[in-house]
Amino acid sequence: MPLSTQDVEKIAILARLKLTSEEKALYQEQLSAVLEYAERLNQLAIEDVPPTASAVSLQNVMRNDIVEPSLAGDDVLYNAPKHALNQFQIKAVLDNE
């Protein structure tokens, strides 16, 4: 199923990507080709097949609740683009009005 320009724009919003109009046109074409290729999965009868989300089946991996040292605050903030008062600094999430 080919994607429309609106589809591409909607996905870009969901993915927090800013695309140029050239990128939109290119991705519209390339993603449509990949999705068309994926249509071949419809050749298979899979209604009763259970899904596999991981190669190994592990469930509820637990560990003992032992307190251990974690990374120092300075180490954690070392890579932060902006920080203040021992915290990551960002623009306001909610505006004041």
Partner: protein, 492 residues
């Protein structure tokens, strides 16, 4: 013979005998990198000072009577694996300048074994690619022919080892990213069973498919790296808590009576004829060495590619949501927080954006069942193909890649043709199997061909031993890119 051209295990013996020191060999490698890597471009960063310190420490430990499996041996690490105090970019501008505050589990294990880390190797951005052309920094060249790609995404690690710029290396393999470059560069590359090597500290691409792997010029070299990096890590909840066998001791070269399955689905139209001939000849050689050859079927092979290109981008779109310019990496400020996210995420390269878009779509409301949900079900069929096959045979033999190394620029504008480069390697990642590539000849242009051996869950020992038997009987691994190709003039 020059130090740089020794295999890892030959160097280990030389160090144990006292014929050389870690400082001497590390300096030799660093000099060689300066001389040769301008042409190959395998390393993104060289950690020369740190490497020489590690080498001096290794020599001191040896002088005090200590011995470790990799004591004093210089190796390389793919730049998607975190190294404490060393920039780790995953080949992306969005992680430029990121200096991890800790070592990945596998790097800790390398250091514990005494290895010297020469630097970080190039990769397609976030390991998304089959050629290193998607690296945000530069394209690595194949030491066998500088106009060709080294394969990818772990192409930097493969080119470094093939160019004798490291004695072994770590890579990661989400869809073939260790085996395919190993095949293109005449190396042994192992992708262990999911969970055999910890993913802790490895930048995540597709979490249900990612796995660390090892490169070596010989089976023994690859095994030596794998031996020390495999094992349980409580920090990775998908890590398998089972003892690590002595893989090196299991390399006895005896494969008499072993059942080798040959899946006809892997010899498809479009495969390069020389690749098919070389792989079929390799299978004949295994028969000569006493293996029983069985024709088998993996009927859902043709669906692995569409399944992979729905599951991997879906997982990637979730994993890469973390790159928002808040906690690490560069931030490009916009007028509000949302615009800051978008401006910052414009640092992703075209292939990464393409996969985030594809994955976001496959997971979005209304399409989840039609794409992602369906892919998970077909993944079950692919996994079951292997379960059935391993009831009949001990190991599966097939080509690693349908072609030898392609030209730089040849496929970069056509994502589907690039994705087809992984068609024979993806099924291992989708199932609970393990796989490796071992050199099995050359095409008419002198480019290496790889034989892929696929093993059952946690049965790395068997595929390594089959590869070892084959390698010892043929000797393709003895041919070096150096002195054979366009690198001749660089050999000084």
């Amino acid at each position: 013979m020059e130090l740089a051209f020794l295999t890892l295990t030959e160097l280990r013996d030389a160090l144990r005998r006292g014929d050389t020191t870690s400082v001497e060999v590390t300096q030799t490698m660093l000099d060689r990198i300066v001389n040769v890597d301008n042409d190959i471009k395998s390393y993104l960063s060289i950690t020369d000072e740190m490497a020489l310190e590690q080498a001096a420490a290794a020599d001191a430990r040896r002088a005090s009577g200590e011995d470790k499996p990799l004591l004093g041996i210089p190796v390389a690490v793919k730049d998607i694996i975190c190294t404490q105090g060393i920039e780790t970019t995953a080949g992306s501008k969005i992680l430029q300048g990121f200096v991890p505050p800790y070592d990945a589990f596998v790097v800790r294990q390398l250091k514990k074994a005494g290895a010297v880390i020469l630097g970080k190797t190039n990769t397609d951005e976030f390991a998304m690619g089959s050629s290193t052309e998607n690296s945000a920094y530069f394209t690595t060249r194949n030491p066998w022919n500088l106009e060709r790609v080294p394969g990818g995404s772990s192409g930097g690690s493969a080119a470094a080892v093939a160019g004798c710029l490291a004695f072994g290396a770590l890579g990661t393999d989400t869809g073939g990213s260790v085996r395919q470059p190993a095949s293109f560069c005449n190396l042994v590359g192992l992708r262990p069973t999911y969970g055999r090597m910890s993913r802790w500290g490895v930048v995540a691409f597709a979490s249900s498919l990612d796995q660390v792997g090892a490169f070596g010029r010989t089976v023994a070299d690859c095994t030596a790296i794998f031996q020390v990096t495999a094992g349980y890590d409580r920090r990775d909840s998908t890590s398998i808590n089972q003892p690590v066998p002595d893989y090196e001791a299991a390399l006895d070269g005896s494969i008499a009576g072993l059942k080798v399955g040959v899946p006809e689905e892997y010899f498809i139209e479009g495969i390069q004829p020389e690749v098919e001939q070389a792989v079929r000849a390799a299978i004949d050689k295994l028969a000569e060495l006493g293996a029983e050859i069985h024709r088998i079927n993996l009927p859902h092979t043709q669906y692995a590619l569409p399944v992979y290109y729905l599951i991997a981008p879906a997982e990637a779109s979730a994993n890469l949501a973390r790159y928002d310019g808040v906690r690490y990496g560069p931030r490009v400020e916009g007028q509000d927080l949302l615009e800051t996210y978008k401006e910052t995420r414009a640092l992703f390269g075209p292939e990464v954006k393409r996969r985030i878009m594809l994955g976001t779509y496959a997971l979005s409301a209304g399409y989840y069942e039609a794409y992602y949900g369906k892919a998970l079900k077909v993944r079950t069929l692919i996994k079951n193909d292997f379960l059935r096959a391993f009831e009949q045979v001990d190991v599966i033999a097939a080509p690693t890649s349908p072609t030898t190394a392609f030209k730089i620029g040849e496929r970069i504008d056509d994502p589907l043709s690039m994705y087809l480069a992984d068609i024979f390697t993806l099924p291992v990642n989708l199932s609970a199997t393990c796989g490796l590539s071992v050199p099995c000849g050359f095409d008419e242009a002198g480019l290496p061909i790889g034989l892929q051996l696929i093993g059952n869950t946690l049965d790395e020992a068997t595929i390594l031993n089959v590869a070892y038997a084959y390698e010892q009987a043929t000797g393709w691994h003895k041919q070096l890119a150096i002195g054979h190709s366009s690198l001749t003039e660089l050999h000084s």
